[in-house]
Amino acid sequence: MEQKVNVDITALIIIFNKNKSYILPVLIMLISLFLFLQFVPPQFNALIKAREEAKATLAKIAKLKENLNILSNINDAELNSQLQTLSLALPLRKDYVGILDTINLTAKKTKVDVGSFSIRIGDISTSESNADFFPMIRFPVPISTDIVGAYRFVDEISQAAVPLSNVYYVNAGKDSASVGLAFYYMPLGSTSDVSPDATVVPVSQKGLKLIDQLIELQKESLQETSLVSVATSSAFK
């Protein structure tokens, strides 16, 4: 016999009354699910982001503490003195006075006569282009001497430390020679790019050794300058 199901309002009311105790808890569970999906994933993402930010900030803090430690142990006077030594060897700009002094001193030391020469006075803030990339001022210097004298001059000036130089050609004959000299300089570039967050690197042992070598060379040059000055002044007495 077929059972007829009569779906009318009465039936629905009966079903409702039978199950009404379940409606509230199911509704609450659905709301909980909605709240979970709506709020928990963004909150979790916020936690991950906070952890990443904290990790990055901790790394920056560690770096800053190390930088402060290094900088706090540096003596300003010593730093300035070292900087002066290096700036004499590799000036920040074209050091015409240093160049002329070096040529003059070398000529006097090696007893050669330097003829007239000219140094092109260019823009101090731009570098001359050259195949070697390092900025330099190049010019020929005529000297009145024989081949041996020319090489004494070249030898001596190659060891000069103030400023750093290079001989790029020599053309020497019996009585005269022409020596191509190049004096280096290096503009620094903007130090405003030096960020407080940047890693501070202390001077290496190799760097300190270089500074000591340059100081010695510069001391020798100064001694020679004073000897030459004394000899010159004696000659005029």
């Binding site: 105790s21 509230l24 808890p25 199911v26 609450i28 709301i31 909980s32 699910l33 709240l35 979970f36 709020f39 928990v40 909150q43 979790f44 936690l47 906070a50 952890r51 930010e53 904290a54 900030t57 901790l58 803090i61 800053l64 930088n67 402060l68 900088l71 540096i74 300003d76 730093l79 070292q82 900087l83 290096l86 700036s87 060897a89 590799l90 390092f134 020319a150 090489y151 070249v154 030898d155 290079n166 790029y168 050609y169 020599v170 053309n171 020497a172 004959g173 191509g180 290096m186 620094l188 130090t191 030096v194 407080p196 940047a198 501070v200 690197v201 001077v203 190799k206 270089l210 340059l214």
Partner: protein
């Protein structure tokens, strides 16, 4: 014989089962709501514990301290920059005087040089001698250097002539580095 049918017993079992089911559902609803709340506030507490805000304040404080040492930092940067560049230059620059000194040692004393021209790429020596054997000795030394790849890598005899007036041989050689 009892004809009483105790329907209550069955009704009680069913009601009990239903009551249990309702209690379970209510419990599940409560647990889910409380659970979501706990998870949310738990994560919020973890965020507070991590506290990037306080770390950022410490970072800013250290930046302020660094700014007091900024000139020292710039000087140190300049110093390291100079050292690096001086080392590069000293490695890169050609030592013409060194090469010239090596070549001078190969010139016999009986072959005085008339001229000596040298640059980064090549050298030209012009000398004079009244002895061909001295010139030969000179050329052999230079050839040896080329063979051993010592300083020079080629040798070209530009000129060898006899000056009948002075009775000397003039020689000009060119070598490349």
């Amino acid at each position: 014989m009892s004809t009483n049918i105790n329907l209550l017993i069955h009704t009680d079992k069913e009601t009990l089962r239903q009551k249990k089911r309702i209690i379970f559902f209510n419990l599940a609803a409560a647990v889910s709501l409380i659970g979501v709340g706990l998870i949310y506030f738990g994560i919020a507490i973890l965020i507070q514990i991590v506290n990037p805000g306080s770390l950022e304040r410490e970072h800013q404080k250290l930046l302020v301290e660094m700014s007091k040492l900024q000139s020292r930092q710039k000087n140190l940067f300049t110093l390291n920059n100079r050292i690096e560049n001086i080392n590069k230059i000293m490695k890169a620059r050609d030592t013409i005087s060194k090469k010239a000194n090596i070549l001078f040692t190969k010139v016999p004393s009986k072959l005085p040089l008339e001229s000596f021209e040298i640059d980064n790429k090549s050298v030209i020596l012009v000398g004079q001698s009244n002895s061909l054997s001295v010139i030969g000795e000179f050329l052999s030394s230079l050839t040896d250097m080329v063979r051993k790849k010592d300083t020079i890598k080629s040798l070209t005899l530009n000129n060898l002539e006899l000056d009948t007036e002075k009775n000397v041989y003039n020689i000009s050689v060119r070598s490349e580095f």
